[in-house]
Structures are given as C-alpha cells and as structure tokens.
Symmetry: none
Subunit: 285 residues, 2 copies
DNA sequence: ACGCAAACTGTAATTTAATTACAAGATCTT
DNA sequence: AAGATCTTGTAATTAAATTACAGTTTGCGT
C-alpha cells in the first residue's frame, strides 16, 4: 500500500497534531517532498519532532525515509487517493479530486473484483437465449449502456427502466434467459421483486450489486463492487463508473469467448454507423 | 526524462570518479536510495563531494534531492498503461487490462482537461432556465446519467435519445436555455444539426466532444476529452467513462456554486428514496 | 469531582548528514 | 615543458534530523 493511501486510511489513528501534518501533506504532496522537516512543521503549525513521530507511525524510518516513500507514491503518475470535495474548492481542485477519487475507486474495484465469478457470468451470458438489463434511477443509464454493448452481439437484448415493463418482462422469462439486475445498494425493493420473479420463471439472474444485500440474495450469481463513494455529494458517482467498467469487462469477455470471426460482426455494426456520420475527409477545418 | 535514463545517456559527460558513482548506482539503485552520501561514496570508492558533484551534474539540488528523483524513477513502473486486450487473454488478463486502460484514459483526460472551460460551462449551467442533454447511441446513456444528476438540482432538465424529439426540443429552445450535446467523435450528423438548430434559437450549446470536430464547430463552448480508445473491440469504452466523469465534475461544480444550503436539497432528494428501499435494519442476513 | 496515569506535544541538546571552501594532483594545450 | 584548466580529496562549516526530557493535556476510575 502506498504512503498516501496509508495516510488516508489511518487518519483516525492520528493525534490532533499529527492530523494537521497529514492535512498539509495531502494538500500539497509535491511540495512536501522538497521541504525540510522544519518547513513542513511550520506549515502544519506543529513542532519538528511531531512531524518525525508522524513519519514513524507510518512505518518509515524517519523523515527522509518518509519523503522517499512519498516520492514513490507520487511517481505512480497519480496519487489515487479518495479525497473529498469541499465547500471552498475551486474548479482545479474539484476537477482533480473527482478524477482522482474515481480512479481510486476503480483501483479498489479492480483489487476486489471476483474474477472466477466474472468468468461464470460470461459463461452464462454467452449461452443466453435472451438477455435483459434492468436498473432504476442512476443504474438505469448503466443498463442502457449495457444494452448498447450487447445488442451488437446479435443476441436478443432488452432493457427497461420502467417498473411495469420490467415486471412483465421478468414474468415472461424462461429457462435459458438471463436477467441482469443493476443496483449499487441492492436495496431497491422493486428490483428485488424483479429478480425473484425472474428466478421463479427459471431465468438465471446476475446481480451487479453489493454483496450481502437483499438483491444479492435473490440472484443466482452476484458480481459485487464495493467501492468507496463520496456521500457528501448525495449522488452516485464512482460506483456507477465501476459498474460501467464491469459491463465493459463482461462485454469483452463475451466477444473473446465467441472467437475472432465473431469480431468481424462487431466491425460490421460499427461500420454501419458510417452513413450517419461526417467522414473525416468530408470535414475540412 | 527520469534520472536513471539520464544517468545512462549522459555517461560520457562524466569524469572518471563520477562514472564510478554512476556504476554503483546503476548496479543497485534500490539500495542507493536508502544510503547516505557517505555510504555511497565508500561503495564507489570516491569522496563524498564527488558524489555531491555527480548529483548536481544531473540537475538535482544535491544528494537528498537526487535520491528523491531516483526513488521516483524506480517507482515509475508505469502502472497504468493502456494495454490492449488480446485474443488469448483469460479472465484475469482482460479484467486487469480493461480496468487499467480505463484508469489510464482517465489519467490522460485529467491532464488534458480544460479547467477554465469547465468553469465557464458551470457558469452557464447554473444560470440556465432549462437544460437539455442530447446524445445518440452510446452517448445516450451518458445523457441519461446527466439528466439523473441534474434533475436533482430542481432545474428543468430534459433528455432525449430520439432524433425527432431532440429536433423538436431544439427548435423550441430560447435564450437562457442550455443544450448539452454529447458525442465522442463529434461526427454524428444528426447531433450537429441539433446543435445548429439550438444555436439558431439563441440557446447556449455545450459540446462534450472531440475538439476540432464538426460538432465542436456548432457549439458555443466545447469540453473536449480526447482519450485513447481501444478500437480493437469496436465498442466505446474508456471515452464514455471519461464523459461520465466530466458530467460528475459539472454536477459537482454546480452544487458548489449554489452553496451549502442548496446541498440540503440534494439530501432531501436522496432521502426521498428511502421508502422504495429496504432499510438496513429490515434486512437480516 | 478529584486525582492519578497515560498519552501528547514542544524545547533544547545532540548527533548525523550534507555542503562548501580550499588545496593538491592530474591532464591537456601550446 | 610550463601554464592553465579540470578533477579530486581533506577539512571545516552549515544544515538537517533525531533524541532526551519536561510540561501539558486528556481520559479514566474512584
């Protein structure tokens, strides 16, 4: 685990002064690595030994060693730390923070994702007679996106964001059909119902949802994505991006399973768009 | 250019003793970063000032600064590269690759994003009488997502993925209205038309699209996101994730601009969902 | 509420590390 | 071969980091 993440995760173990140090470092990590312990102590308004103790708490040998670790963290292109947006942030600040926390979320999702389960999901999807994507609210757009990907595979795909349509569709499902239910929390009652109905009608139900949620209990197969979400904004952000990436992964797995000649087909679909677009040569800037 | 490469390329400019230092460092860079100048001098069988001069020749401020640069070079295993999925990839491989290339795409997007332009877009959006989000194909789900975010702000928001509806909506737009057109390539003819119509009717048109595309020409304000896309898969993946993050940024900018009491409102919207959900306590696993 | 113990934080002293100044030696040029 | 320049090391100086210690705060049990 890199030092920046470590600071963020162990922020609760810090004492008051140590937290001041942590704040200063997180706010300007790049300048920190070029500062002396005295300069940093002054910025954080604490004494030098406090900074030193802070470094040791993070399992480094001292301040210079800490700077080395910090430099390495920063070198990884990005400090992927889940920093929260704050009231007084300007455009640069919130833009950077949102990019970074999204990337951080993807990073944790990547680490936690259950690959054998993905493989099983791909299995199921490749053998499906019909695939349905259901989501409500923010997850509806994820379902739409999934439809947009999978319909290219020349498999019957449906996608509804209307509860009644979802319900009717679920009741009509049969063995060999696959229903994918998307919900970050997994607590949306209507969607749990849909999953249950689909299962009663012998469909295979894949849940893209939180592990151990009510929805998860109704599914044949659960792909869980527990990513940290900045709840201060009251909007699903990182979670939904992770869901989309998961859809990409399932779609990719699907095409790989089908082999290379199937890929030709995708190219055709893409080429079919040509008529609706300005060719590059059409357009002279 | 990283320090290690620099040492290798400028090996000819070094003096005899400096080359000894270079050799020792290249032989064991990892131990170097944890050594003092004295230890390194001894290993290279030179004096301490020689090591110091060596560091300065490499455009660093001194030995500690040199170690910092070296640490960064070593950390730079370029962790998030845009690796393409290949035919023979198994589930672990393609899962990792898709996560990584998405993150790499976000990283480049973050570097290239035009922050003043974002700020202007936020300006325009906060003052809008009505906001419309239009996208076709894969971008339609991004438009949906944007609607899902912005309608929470209690601003009139519409979103159409039907060309005819888009057209009618664009014709009805008026001064003070904002139309957001989303298209990765910016070459979709229908969407260019929509942008043009909206502008003719005095609406402000924001384009989330490629810089210098036909669509960009029709917009009052362009937010361009040129991210690398794995075209082998014939599906928009990374580009669409970047678009979503941009939507998140705009939405966040919007809420920040409106101030903290506005945030209360968002909380209410979120709380309104409670009735449709299983409470955590309802559910005993 | 009071007093004791533990933890936190800062000041000052000490140690360690890095840099500078300078002088001796090597190398190159004419 | 002699002057000049560049290279290298020794010793002195300065800067930085760490340790030891003491005052203060905080929390807990009586």
């Amino acid at each position: 685990m890199n030092v920046l993440e470590k600071i963020v995760t162990s922020v609760n173990n810090f004492s008051k002064s140590e937290r001041k140090v942590a704040d200063v470092i997180l706010a300007n990590p790049q300048t920190t690595i070029h500062s002396s312990i005295a300069a940093l102590a002054k910025m954080a308004d604490v004494s030098e030994p406090t900074v030193n103790r802070f470094c040791r708490r993070l399992d480094t040998k001292g301040f210079p060693d800490f700077k080395l670790h910090l430099a390495q963290s920063l070198a990884n292109g990005t400090p992927y730390v889940n920093r929260h947006v704050e009231e007084e942030d300007g455009p640069e600040a919130y833009t950077a923070k949102i990019f970074e926390s999204t990337m951080a979320a993807l990073d944790t999702a990547r680490q936690r994702v259950d690959i054998p389960m993905i493989n099983r999901a791909v299995d199921v999807l490749t053998q499906a007679k019909k695939i349905s994507f259901f989501g409500l609210g923010a997850s509806a757009s994820v379902a739409h996106d999934a439809q947009n990907k999978f319909f290219r595979f020349n498999v019957p795909v449906v996608c509804f964001d209307d509860i009644v349509m979802q319900r009717m569709s679920a009741i009509n499902s049969a063995e060999g059909d696959v229903v994918v239910c998307i919900s970050h929390t997994g607590r949306t009652k209507n969607l749990c119902d849909i999953a249950a109905i689909a299962r009663e009608n012998d469909a295979t139900v894949i849940g893209i949802t939180a592990y151990d949620s009510p929805l998860a209990k109704e599914c044949t197969l659960v792909l869980s994505l527990d990513v940290p979400e900045d709840t201060d904004m009251y909007m699903p952000m990182a979670s939904r991006v992770a869901q989309l990436v998961l859809i990409d992964i399932l779609a990719t797995g699907f095409t790989l399973r089908r082999g290379s000649k199937f890929r030709e087909n995708l190219k055709k679909v893409k080429d079919s768009l040509r008529g609706s677009r300005f060719e590059k040569k059409d357009f002279v800037s």
